[in-house]
Symmetry: C2
Subunit: 316 residues, 2 copies
C-alpha cells in the first residue's frame, strides 16, 4: 500500500507511527516535490494533505484523503466525490483557540483598543475613544458546530444573548434562539455583532452580503474565522466607511494570502490575523491521532468507523 | 445648607434631583471656578467631588464628601479623617466594563493582536506571531472586591484557574485559592498572568515590584486597572524588555495624565488605555443615584445608613 504525504510530517516519529499501523505501507513524500505527485503518486490509495483537481484526476487508485485542518472545500473535487473517495478532516482541535480569538476580536473593538493604540502612538492621554459593553448585547453565531459549541457558552458567561444559525435550525445549548440561513433575515435587525464560522460550500458563498450586513444593528462588529468566500468584502468595506459597522476581525480572506494591494490591509478598523485563529491547538499530536485512528480503520477494512468523515453533499 | 459642587453635574436635571431631597440647600458651583472653593466654600457641609488638602483645611464645616468614582486616595486627607468627615464613593458601577477590559486586555496579547497589527501595517500575511491560550492558564486577581466579583466568574468560564488576593485571604467564589498580599509570594511562580485591581493605600504602594513580577511565570501579561502607584513601572519596562513579561495593559499611570515623554507610551507591548476601563457605566444615572440616596440619609440625620461608606483606616 502506498501513502502520499502531500503535507509535511513535522516530526520523524510520525512516520513510525504510520508504519506501526500499516507495516507494509510505502510512504512517498511530495511536500517538497509537489510536481512529482501526478507521476509518482498514481498507485497511492491514501493521501495525507490537499490534492488538487488535476492530481485527483491522475490518482486513480485513491480511496481516502485526510486533511490536517478543518475546511475541505479545496478537496471536494467532483472527480473524487463521484469515485466515492473517503474524505476526513481534523475538525474539533482548535475550538478553544478560535473561541478565544472571536471573543478577543469582539473585545478589541468593544474596548476601542484600535483607538487607544492610535493615542499611544501619539502619546495622547484619554482623547476620543468609544467603548461599549458586550454584556447585554446580542451576538449571532453563524455556524454552531464544534467551534460554536466552545464559543457559545463562553459568550453566554459574558452576559451575551447568543443567537445561532445552523443547517436545520436545531436548538443549541446556550443559544436563546436558532435559525437556518434561509430564515434568519428576520432576526438580523436585533443583532449587535456577528461571528462567522460557516464552512465554504456552494450554499454559503457570499451569504454575508451587503443586505445581510446592512440589516444588523448599527455599530456591529464582524468576526470571520471560517472562509473568506462566505463574506462580501466590498460590502464590508462600504459599511465600515459609513460607520454602520464599527470594525471587523478577518482571520480569512479570498484569496489567501491576501494580496498586498488589498484595501483591507490598511483599513484602521479591520484587524487581519492571517489564518491563525486556530493556533495553538492544545496538542498538534492530538490532531494527528485522528489520522492514525482512521488509518487503523482503513487497514482493518472498516472505513465507516472513521472519525471526522466529511459528507460531500453537505460540504463539511 | 450649602453643597459644594466641585465636579461638574453634566445634566441640569441633577440639580433639581438634589434640591428635591434637600430643598433648603444652596448649590455652589466650583467646577469652572476652582480657585474660589477656599474662599466661597467655607460654609459648605457637603462636597461633591475631590477636595484637595489645602481646601480640606479651609472647609471647616465639611461633614461629608462624595466622589463620583471609586478610588479615594486623593480625598483621604488626614485633616478630614481626624475631623471624622464622612467619605462615600461610587464603587460598584463599572464592574462589567472593567471585567471586559481586563479580559479584552489578556486576549489582546493571547491572540497577539499587537503582532498582527504590525503585519497589517505592512500588508504581510502570516509572519511570526505568537498566540497562546487563556484556557488552562492561571490568573492572579489582586483585589477581589466588586470588580473582581464580576471578573472572576467570567475568567472561570473561559477555563482559567483564578487565584485571588484580598485583605484577609477570605474565600471568593470562583477562585481556586486566595491569599493576602503578605502571604501570596509562594503562589507567584505558578501564575501565568496578573490583573491588578488594588486600591492605592499606604500598604499597596509599588507592591507589584520587580521581585513580584520576576516571580511570575515567563510569558506573563500584566493588566493594571486600579492605580498607577501600585505598580513599579521601571520594573515593568525592564521585564518586558527581557521578555519575561509578554505585554501590559495599563489603564492607569502615576502621574495621570501620563507625561508625553514617558517611555511607556511607545513600547510595542504596552497598551495604555487612559483611565477609560470604567466606561461605559451601565447608566451614569445609576452612579448619581448613590449620591442622592446618601443625601437623603444625610438630610435625615442617618449618615450610618449611607451606601459605599469608605473606611479611612483601610483606605477604600
Amino acid at each position: 500500500m502506498q501513502i502520499a504525504l502531500v503535507n509535511k510530517l513535522t516530526e520523524p516519529d510520525k512516520r513510525k507511527q504510520i508504519q506501526a499501523i500499516a507495516d507494509n505501507a510505502t510512504l512517498l513524500d511530495f511536500w517538497d516535490d509537489r510536481d512529482a505527485l501526478i507521476d509518482r503518486g498514481c498507485d497511492c490509495e491514501i493521501a495525507y494533505g490537499r490534492v488538487r483537481p488535476d492530481e485527483a484526476e491522475a490518482l486513480r487508485k485513491l480511496r481516502w484523503i485526510h486533511v490536517p485542518w478543518t475546511g475541505v472545500e479545496n478537496v471536494l473535487h467532483p472527480v473524487l466525490v463521484d469515485r466515492g473517495v473517503i474524505i476526513t478532516n481534523t475538525r474539533g482541535q482548535s475550538g478553544v483557540s478560535m473561541a478565544e480569538h472571536a471573543i478577543g476580536g469582539l473585545l478589541y473593538f468593544a474596548r476601542d483598543l484600535p483607538g487607544h493604540a492610535g493615542q499611544n502612538a501619539q502619546a495622547q492621554w484619554r482623547r476620543d475613544t468609544n467603548e461599549f459593553l458586550l454584556e447585554g448585547s446580542r451576538v449571532l453565531v453563524l455556524g454552531t458546530g464544534h467551534i460554536g459549541g466552545v464559543l457559545i457558552p463562553r459568550l453566554a458567561a459574558l452576559g451575551v444573548d447568543v443567537v445561532g444559525v445552523n443547517s436545520d435550525g436545531r436548538d443549541v445549548p446556550g443559544c436563546s434562539a436558532t435559525y437556518t440561513l434561509n430564515d434568519c433575515a428576520s432576526v438580523l435587525p436585533s443583532i449587535d455583532h456577528l461571528i462567522v464560522l460557516l464552512p465554504a460550500t456552494p450554499w454559503t458563498r457570499k451569504v454575508v452580503d451587503r443586505d445581510f450586513l446592512q440589516a444588523l444593528r448599527p455599530g456591529a462588529v464582524v468576526v470571520n474565522l471560517s472562509r473568506g468566500k462566505v463574506l462580501d468584502h466590498e460590502a464590508l468595506l462600504a459599511l465600515l466607511d459609513t460607520r454602520h459597522l464599527v470594525g471587523a476581525v478577518l482571520d480569512v480572506s479570498d484569496p489567501e494570502p491576501l494580496p498586498a494591494d488589498s484595501p483591507l490591509w490598511q483599513h484602521p478598523r479591520i484587524m487581519i490575523t492571517g489564518h491563525k485563529s486556530w493556533r495553538p491547538v492544545k496538542g498538534v499530536q492530538d490532531g494527528f491521532e485522528i489520522f492514525l485512528q482512521n488509518l487503523r480503520c482503513f487497514v482493518d477494512g472498516k472505513p465507516g468507523a472513521m472519525r471526522n468523515l466529511v459528507d460531500p453533499q453537505r460540504g463539511y
